[in-house]
């Protein structure tokens, strides 16, 4: 077949849903290279009732694509290699090395957002998470599937339509889950339905954060380090669990785009390994390179690469190429009257093409109308790799407040006072960093209790 490539996009490989109705969207939720082929699995917005003609596709090395006969319609964004049985789990499907595909009928109508190894019987079982909080135990050999939890109850969330689980991840003897539930009421602070939570296989769940989190990543052979991506009003969030001290540390990153601030808009920003033993992170409209290892329990060298406009629910490395899946045109069940036919493209390139995407820029900071305490430092906020930088600080206290700006230039958590800024009573101050000033992390230390907002704008 003759293949047309335009700026890395092969239009013949676009994922196009049935015209319907119904028509909502077709996002590319899973990209999995397996036994010589690239498996593509996509999703409609809310189970098969919101769109047909989605489902499993297979792309061969010669760029021919076919819909797999086992393809089913639904909402799927989970992928995992199950090494003990030498199969992949992708959506409701299990695929062995000979490309035999089996489908778990009872999972077809669950909006599948995550699959991860079982805590006690990893040779035979995996956990499968649904976006509505349904937690299953799936036997990858017999396909026996059993619901073992309702996370709406376990994590005290609201119900379908008001809950939005996004991913699960097993590490350090616990199962992690997250929900990115976030709407106007969460933004205004009168609701907090986002979740980051963990479970040790028995007993009660522990809620770690009541903020929206979208995904996990990590290569556990590197010190059992686990990464979780989320956000709040103030910034994007990178929370890191380090196995050596069994500790979570919260770091903050800029938001490159304001179009990932509602639960429906995020799709699936991912942490994936596309180059050997390092991670490519897609977070709030920006790509970063990051090491999977955390020495001394600290993370540094988070390297901004590019901002982007494509909505990228999954990406992978295949045959030397970086492959990006997208979520492009959404008719959204009539919500969008100038877009009719749901379709999304695949981009093929090399990782270093990302440098030609948008310049790293972003908004964010440690505080957004936050009650801060004297001498208690803020979370570290990423500073490295951005060209122009300024810091805005404003507070609501009736007396002047001084704020120390501290920098960590080595990266490992040792902060040094760079300067102190004085902000008048209920006042505002701005500090523009001189061209060339940079450090790995920046944080602020208030010298008085107050309600403060601090935002950095990088251009």
């Amino acid at each position: 077949m003759s293949v047309t490539t335009i700026s890395g996009v092969i239009p013949q490989l676009a994922q196009v849903a049935d015209l319907g109705p119904p028509r909502s969207e077709i996002g590319i939720g899973c990209l999995m290279p397996w036994a010589g082929k690239l498996y593509v699995l996509n999703y409609s917005s809310h189970r098969r009732g919101t769109g047909t003609g989605t489902g499993l596709r297979v792309i061969e090395r010669d760029f021919t694509m076919r819909k797999h006969p086992q393809a089913v319609d639904g909402t799927y964004a989970n992928r995992m290699v199950h090494h003990p049985s030498n199969q992949i789990v992708i959506g409701p499907h299990m695929i062995d090395a000979a490309h035999n595909v089996r489908t778990v009928a009872s999972l077809v109508d669950i909006r599948l957002c995550g699959t991860s190894p079982h805590l006690t019987d990893p040779a035979n079982l995996v956990y499968v998470l649904g976006m509505e909080g349904e937690l299953f135990e799936l036997n990858v050999r017999t396909l026996e599937c059993r619901q073992i939890g309702d996370l709406q109850k376990e994590l005290d969330t609201e119900s379908e339509g008001l809950v939005h689980f996004k991913d699960c991840f097993t590490h350090s003897g616990r199962l992690m889950v997250c929900s990115n539930e976030y709407m106007d009421a969460d933004f205004r602070g009168v609701r907090s339905q986002g979740r980051l939570a963990e479970w040790k296989g028995t007993g009660a769940w522990t809620v770690l954060e009541r903020k929206p989190f979208v995904g996990f990543g990590g290569i556990l052979s590197f010190g059992q380090t686990t990464f979780a991506l989320g956000w709040d009003q103030a910034s994007a969030i990178l929370s890191v669990h380090t196995g050596e001290n069994d500790k979570w540390t919260r770091y903050r990153l800029p938001k490159a785009s304001h179009c990932f601030d509602h639960k429906w808009q995020t799709e699936w920003p991912r942490i994936r390994s596309v180059e050997h033993e390092r991670l490519l992170v897609d977070c709030h409209g920006m790509f970063y390179e990051m090491s999977p290892h955390a020495y001394d329990g600290r993370v540094w060298g988070v390297r901004p690469i590019a901002t982007h406009l494509w909505v990228i629910p999954d990406f992978c490395s295949w045959q030397g190429m970086l492959v990006l899946g997208s979520d492009n045109a959404s008719a959204d069940a009539g919500g969008n009257l100038v877009t009719a036919e749901p379709q999304s493209g695949l981009w093929f390139g090399k990782t270093d093409d990302l440098w030609n995407f948008g310049k790293p820029k972003g908004w964010g900071g440690p505080w957004w109308e936050e009650a801060v305490k004297a001498d208690v430092p803020s979370d570290p906020y990423l500073m490295t790799g951005f060209e122009h930088k300024c810091l805005h600080v404003q507070h609501q206290y009736g007396n002047p407040v001084r704020f120390d700006i501290e920098l960590d230039f080595a990266g490992h958590g040792h902060f040094h006072r760079y300067t102190t800024i004085d902000v008048g009573a209920k006042g505002y101050a701005v500090h523009v960093f001189p061209p060339g000033l940079s450090a790995h992390w920046i944080r602020l230390v208030p010298q008085a209790n107050c309600v403060a907002t601090a935002q950095l704008i990088y251009t």
């Binding site: 492009n328 959404s330 009257l337 036919e341 379709q343 908004w363 505002y428 701005v430 251009t459």
Partner: protein
């Protein structure tokens, strides 16, 4: 080598839409693009009269064909009608099997927009023509009924001029502004229309012929009398509505949230979108899931359709551009633009055969187009009242920034520069500039300084011009 396979920078020269060399010659733009029933549909347009325009479809192998239902006219409307499961593009109604019907009556008019019917959305749509006739189209019978003429309803003309259709519109009497309606949209229980009429008399303040207006089904209300190119929004996400226009000072963005309008301002990247004929159709479109790509006065931006707290921020400049882009869409993973290029209009003897082409690329290609730069500000010889804040003007995402202020009053004033670094219209005083009577002042922002929005507040009543240059 097959000519059809030659692709240069995203352009397939063999796909150019050409009018031939016959007369009349004016322009051939690509006015609307809509992926539908496995293909990308496109309509092209002439200025008023001409030939060679039509309806095209492009498949995923990027083969292009001119459809036998093609008619030559001026068409820039696209709309998805869910209840009848069809799209409306130009005067054509296309069903899910790709069957095309054409309204011969509508083909006689220059079609600027199509939008949802207020009372019979199951069966009808509204269609707006550039000269002001506002129709209702029955999608089953193709019956077309003129509901009113907005040129009179919105008081562009107070005297009746007989039978100005699209083909006669270039014979508008000299003493009247030419109506130039550009877009319509239904949301929040009302129909919005935009007219971008703008001539020397508008710039000089002798008349104000642009319009942003709304209709509740009974009465038309004029909201603005400056030129507007676009008004659009989603059916959900709070039905927030965005209208884009301009005046002498800058690009104007009006946002309707829960029935309340708020004005924002953006820079002009180009001075060539400053006359109503030049703008073509700068659009706000969704090409990526649940976010907008905006084209305004020569610059592309990304912005969210969701407005947290009902506030607009995070309007992210992507690039400035040179192509005139009457429509764009997402198709098979590609960003596709329709263009308007070779136009031998007026006395331009340097160009020949009217022709335009499509551009196919990846959205991230936009980053390598022109750096975001622009001119504009909140005031241009504006009688400013003491203590009254200007509209917010976009600041984020630009590199170097300077503010110029000129006072044309006989008393001095002090202008406070306020910035909003959060985005939700929380303002902080950043600096004060003293401006002498009939004087001038400027402020260069330090390298690296940035905020979402900037606005100005004058301490005294004065006639002020305040423009920012971003480079």
């Amino acid at each position: 080598m097959s000519a059809a396979s030659v692709q240069i920078s995203g352009v397939f020269p063999a796909y150019a839409i050409q009018a031939g060399s016959g007369k009349p010659r004016n322009e051939l733009g690509i006015g609307a693009l809509m992926p539908w029933a496995g293909k990308l549909w496109a309509v092209s347009y002439v200025a008023h009269r001409g030939h060679g325009a039509g309806l095209y479809c492009i498949d995923k192998d990027l083969h292009i064909a001119r459809h036998p239902e093609s008619v030559t006219g001026t068409f820039c409307n696209r709309f998805m009608h869910g209840p009848s499961d069809s799209i409306i593009i130009g005067p054509h109604i296309i069903d899910g099997q790709g069957q095309v019907r054409t309204s011969k009556k509508l083909a006689e008019y220059r079609l600027a927009g199509t939008c949802r019917h207020l009372t019979d959305p199951e069966n009808k749509v509204y269609v707006l023509s550039m000269e002001g006739p506002f129709f209702e189209l029955d999608l089953h019978t193709l019956e077309v009924k003129e509901l009113c003429n907005l040129t009179y309803e919105l008081k562009l003309w107070t005297e009746r001029i007989p039978d100005i259709t699209g083909k006669a519109a270039d014979r508008v009497p000299q003493h009247l502004p030419q109506p130039h309606f550009k877009a319509c949209h239904t949301g929040q229980g009302r129909v919005l229309v935009a007219n971008n009429s703008y001539f020397d008399q508008d710039h000089a303040g002798e008349w104000a012929s642009g319009r942003l207006a709304e209709w509740d089904g009974k009465q038309w209300t004029i909201i603005r009398t400056t030129p507007f190119n676009e008004v659009t929004g989603r059916e959900n996400f709070g039905q927030n509505i965005f209208a884009l226009g301009w005046d002498r000072a800058s690009v104007i963005m009006m946002v309707l949230v829960n029935g309340k309008w708020t004005e924002f301002r953006l820079p002009k990247a180009s001075q060539t979108f400053e006359h109503c004929w030049q703008t073509e159709w700068p659009r706000l479109r969704e090409v990526e899931h649940e976010r907008y790509l905006l084209d305004a006065s020569g610059m592309f931006y990304e912005l969210s359709g969701w407005l947290l707290e009902g506030k607009l921020w995070g309007v992210r400049p992507v690039c400035s551009h040179l192509r005139v882009v009457p429509d764009f869409c997402s198709f098979a993973g590609l960003l596709v633009m329709g263009d308007n290029q070779v136009s031998p209009v007026g006395n331009d003897w340097s160009v020949g055969e009217p022709q335009s082409n499509f551009w196919f690329g990846h959205i991230e290609d936009l980053w390598s187009w022109g750096k975001p730069k622009g001119w504009g500000g909140p005031w241009w010889k504006t009688p400013v009242k003491a203590g009254e804040a200007s509209a917010p003007y976009l600041m984020t995402g630009f590199d170097k920034k300077v503010l110029h202020i000129r006072c044309e009053s006989d008393a001095a004033t002090r202008v406070c520069v306020e910035i909003d670094f959060i985005g939700n219209q929380s303002w902080c005083a950043y600096a004060n500039l003293a401006v002498d009577a009939n004087g001038y002042a400027h402020h260069v922002f330090p390298d690296g300084f940035s905020a979402h929005w900037v606005r100005l507040v004058s301490a005294s009543n004065a006639t002020l011009t305040a423009l920012l240059h971003y480079t």
